[in-house]
Structures are given as C-alpha cells and as structure tokens.
Homo-oligomer: 330 residues x 2
C-alpha cells in the first residue's frame, strides 16, 4: 500500500486519519486506496490505540420485546457516537454471563451494558472486579460501584393497582413470573405492599407464579389461578403473562373486562394488538436503554466520575382490557 502510493506508512496513516498532510501526499494515498480497496487492519489499530470502537450489550433473551426495545435505543445511541454494538445473548444462564464478563477483560469491547435477569452473589462478586466501563440495567446492591439504571417496578405496580381499584376491583390476582428473578421479586414485593395499602383482598389464593415470563408458562399459571378462584381483575407480571391469562379467560367464557379486567406490564407492541387491547404499564425499556448507553459513553470519557444511579419512571396506558362499564370492543 505505502509502496504503491510511494510514501511512508506513517503518511498513509496520517492521511487516513485526517491529520495534516500536503495535498500531493493526500492525492497519492487516496489514489492507491481506491486502486487497492485498501482498509486499515482493525486489530492493528486497536492494539496500538487501545480501543476497539465496539461496545457490548448482554441480555438474557434477544427475543423478548423488552430487550429488543432496549437494544434499539442502545444501538441508535452508540452508532451515533461511532461505536459498533455487539449483542450477546446469555440465555439467562448465570455461567454464560460470568464467562462473558471475563472474556470482555480481553478488551474486545470498550464497555458493556448488562441487563441480567438473575442477580446472585457470584454475579455481584464478579461485578465488583470488572475493570472496564460497565453499566447495569436492573437492580444491583448499592455498594457495587457501577453505573446503574433501573425500572421503577414498584411504581408501575402501584399505577396498575390504583387504576384497577378506581375501576372498582377489590379481588385482584397477580400472575407473576419467576420470583427468583430481579423483576419477579421486585414486582411481588410491590404487589403485596400496594395491595395492602389499598385495602385489597389479601388472599393468598390470588397469587400465582409462572415458570417463566412466557405465553406458555402464563397459560399454565392462569389455569391454576382460575381453577381455584375468579378474581375481579388480574395483573400480569409482563404483557405475555397477561395475554396468556386473557386467552384462558376467553376459553372459559369470562368477559374481559366486565367479568375480569386484565392489566399487563412492559407495554410492548403486543398490547395494542390483542382483542380487547391490553392495558399495560410501560417501564420505559427504550428510555432505560437510551440512558444506559449515554452513561456508558460518558464513562468512556470520564473514567473517574462517580457511579450514577438513574431510575426511569413507569407510565400506564389504559386500553380496553380494564375499562369496566365500557364495551370490551367496538
């Protein structure tokens, strides 16, 4: 390359990086670049400058709409700053998450946004040792010094329950996801407290725990619930669980919302598609992604700033599945 252009490799590097060079040299270099379709080797560059220009996003399940939403936000943000985004799906396996955290020490990405479903002691211990820029989406112990963005699950549950309470519901059931996960546990706690504060029926028969945040597990859980009781309303731990519940209700000829109102969480695109449309509490997935990306980009420039904690506020979208008294469909 340098030979073809008839200049030194240093000059090639300078021209390609926009550093000062005479027009003559620029001309020669550009001509040779075109001729050869030359592209500087990314590794050699990274090895020298100690930056990869890559950022990583690690997530339990790329198929979950919530994470897709986050990924979009992160992609937009990082791309705008000239970084490529590497998406890694750990499938919820703790070991894969730990392996990923380790392998990033090899430097192939300049930073990581991590959104774990389960936060156990091993993960927390590992997070303390990470030597690269890291932001965690989700709840981590306050003494782990990483940037952290959280959803306000408790606030979200409260919005949902208050809304149902206003609709006259008093026996409100909760089809939650697994309670050994971060969101599952947070939502369970919030449900208990808020139900008590609102003076709702505290019956233990009103709570079921699905094996996963999926339609299939949601159906099973909803059937368990409805076999033992018929509540005024059901709150789903996420939209999929709420939708599964709606399906089971329909199969049992219970009208939504007149017999049983239903509210989901996450406010995914699915919520607008079901019939009746699903009332849902958005937990700001897009916003969480955006904020996380910004924190990471900011930390790349300011390695020593204090770790920040940002909480994104929930928002309730009321649709047909919870408007008692209205027609369920037009």
């Amino acid at each position: 390359m340098a030979e073809l252009a008839g200049v030194s490799v240093a000059s090639v590097s300078r021209v390609l990086n926009g550093l000062p060079a005479s027009d003559a040299v620029k001309e020669k270099v550009n001509r040779a670049v075109d001729e050869l379709g030359y592209r500087p080797n990314a590794f050699a560059r990274s090895l020298k400058v100690r930056r990869s220009q890559q950022l990583a996003f690690a997530v339990a399940d790329v198929g979950n709409p919530v994470y897709v939403e986050m990924m979009r936000a992160i992609e937009d943000e990082t791309r705008a700053h000239g970084y490529r985004l590497l998406v890694s799906s750990t499938g919820g396996r703790s070991d894969d998450t730990l392996a990923l955290l380790d392998s990033l020490e090899g430097g192939y990405a300049d930073g990581l946004v991590l959104s774990p479903v389960r936060v156990d002691a091993r993960l927390v211990a590992r997070l303390r040792q990470v030597t690269y820029p890291l932001v965690v989406i989700g709840t981590v112990p306050t003494d782990v010094a990483v940037d952290n963005v959280r959803a306000n699950s408790a606030g979200g549950v409260r919005l949902a329950l208050e809304h149902l309470h206003e609709q006259g519901c008093r026996r409100i059931a909760f089809v939650n996801g697994p309670e050994d996960t971060v969101p599952g546990e947070a939502r369970r706690q919030a449900f208990e407290r808020t139900a008590q504060a609102l003076g709702l029926d505290p019956g233990a028969d009103l709570r079921v725990e699905a094996g996963d945040f999926t339609l299939a597990e949601g159906r099973k859980a909803a059937e368990t619930l409805l076999d033992r009781t018929t509540p005024d309303a059901v709150l789903g731990g996420n939209d999929l669980l709420a939708i599964a519940t709606m399906q089971v209700l329909a199969e049992r000829d219970l009208r939504i919302p007149d017999d049983v109102a239903v509210v989901g969480m996450d406010d995914t695109e699915l919520a607008g598609v079901t019939s009746p449309s699903l009332t849902s509490v958005g937990l700001g997935a897009h916003e969480r992604g955006r904020v996380a990306a910004r924190l990471l980009l900011d930390r790349l420039d300011h390695a020593d700033r204090e770790p920040q904690r940002v909480t994104v506020q929930p928002q309730l979208s009321v649709r047909d599945s919870s408007r008692k008294g209205d027609a369920a469909r037009r």
Copy 2:
C-alpha cells in the same frame, strides 16, 4: 505476567492455548493468571492469527420478529462454534449497508450474514467485490458468487391462496408491503400468478401496497382497500399487515372469518395471540438463519468451495382467522 510466573511469554501463550508444557510451568502460569486475573489481549491475538473469532449479522430492523428469529438461530449456531456474534442494524438505509460491507474489510469480523430488504444495483456491485466470507439471506442475482439462502415466497403465497380457495374464497385481496423491497416484489409476483392460475377475481381494486411492513402502515392500506370494496378474504404481506387488517375489519363490524377471512405471512408469535388467531404462512425464518450460519461456518473452513444456494420451504399454519363455517372463537 510472564515475570510474575517466572517463565517466558512464549510459555504463557502455550499454557493458555493448551499446547504441550510441563506441569511445573502450567502450575506457575495458572497461579499467576489467577493472581492477576490475566486475560490475553484479543487484538494482539487476532492480529497475529488473523482471525477475530467474531461473526457479523446485518439486518434492516432488529425489532422485526422475523429477524429476531433469524438472529436467535444464528446466535445459537455461531456460539456453539466458539464465535461471538455482532449484530448490526442498518435501518434499511442502503448507504449504511454499503458502509458496513466496506468496514468489514477491516477484518473485525471473520464473516457476515447479510439480510438486506432492498437489493439495488449498487449493492449487487458491492457484493461482487467482497473479499471475506459472506452469506446473503434473500434473493440475489444468480451470477453473484455468494452463498445464498432464500425463502420460497412464491410457494408461500400459493399455499395461502390455495387454502383460501378451498375455503370458497374467490375475491381475495392482497395487502402487500412496499414493492420495491425484495420480499414485497416477490410476493406481488407470486400473488398475481397464483391468483390467475386459480382463476380468482383479478380485480386491480383488490391490491394495495402499504408504505412499510408495519401495523401503522397496514391500517392505512387496509382502510384504503375496504373503502373501495369488501373482499372474501385478505392476504397480508406479513403478519403485521394482516393483523392491522383484522383490526380495521373489526372496527367496521365485519366478522372474521365469516365475512372476510384473513391470512398472514411469516407465522410470527403474534399469530397465536390475536383474536381470532391468525392463519399464517411461515417462511422458515429460524431455519433460514440456521442454514445461513452453517454455510458461513462451513465457508470459513472451505474458502474455495462452490457458492451454494439453499431454499427453505414454507409452511401453512391454519388457525381461526380463515376457517369459514367454524366458530371464529370458542
């Protein structure tokens, strides 16, 4: 690191790569590794061995369930072979796709799976010049020498139309996506030909083109269609367009499937969630991803094998939205 262990850097490298070494040396190296949390630098390694152990997947829209499905399949396959997957979203912008193809020449990934929505002359020209392993999901001119996996859109449209024909439908409308895209164009052609072969009403008023493969654009297109005529059935260019049509039909108090049957394409998770559930033709997104990943992995080892072309066959999933005579719901 080597100093701490008291051995040469060569020995460190050998131990870490599982090459022959005495137990004494292994012991020293492992001890030092643990103490330092040492990780070999990924770039230095890649620079030397000329491999990144990364593969890239480029896609128009990470949010589209079809691509998520592909991504999952590709992730599973590549991860099993020890590669990381880099996901890049080009947002359907041609320039971004070209820029990506260029930048990969820098070597930061060992190969690429590309799934473009639009294939124009510039892209085809660029594809011919690519110097790294590449597989394209979608249709490319036969003389472009890349591995290629395709959906059988024509076969899929045929399955859908034959099914509707059997249900007694003769005036079948088509709510297609943009016809300057690869899938849009293929589906339009297939629709015309199959409609003719089956002796369906060829009325031009039965075809509308949505601005994009989305719910919002689908609604507009469906309204345009239903303002001018009421067909026996509607085929959607994808599930989102079909679902949007179902919503508009419901708003106009047309019963599905008794007044108007509806069939989608892609057979995404959404199809099982709507009410009535949506009959849809799956075009094998998961399978296309899996095959593409395998072709790419295979090519990494066999740079000189002939480019292959694989077509994945469609499959019809009949659900409630098209079973005339049955109850639309239980």
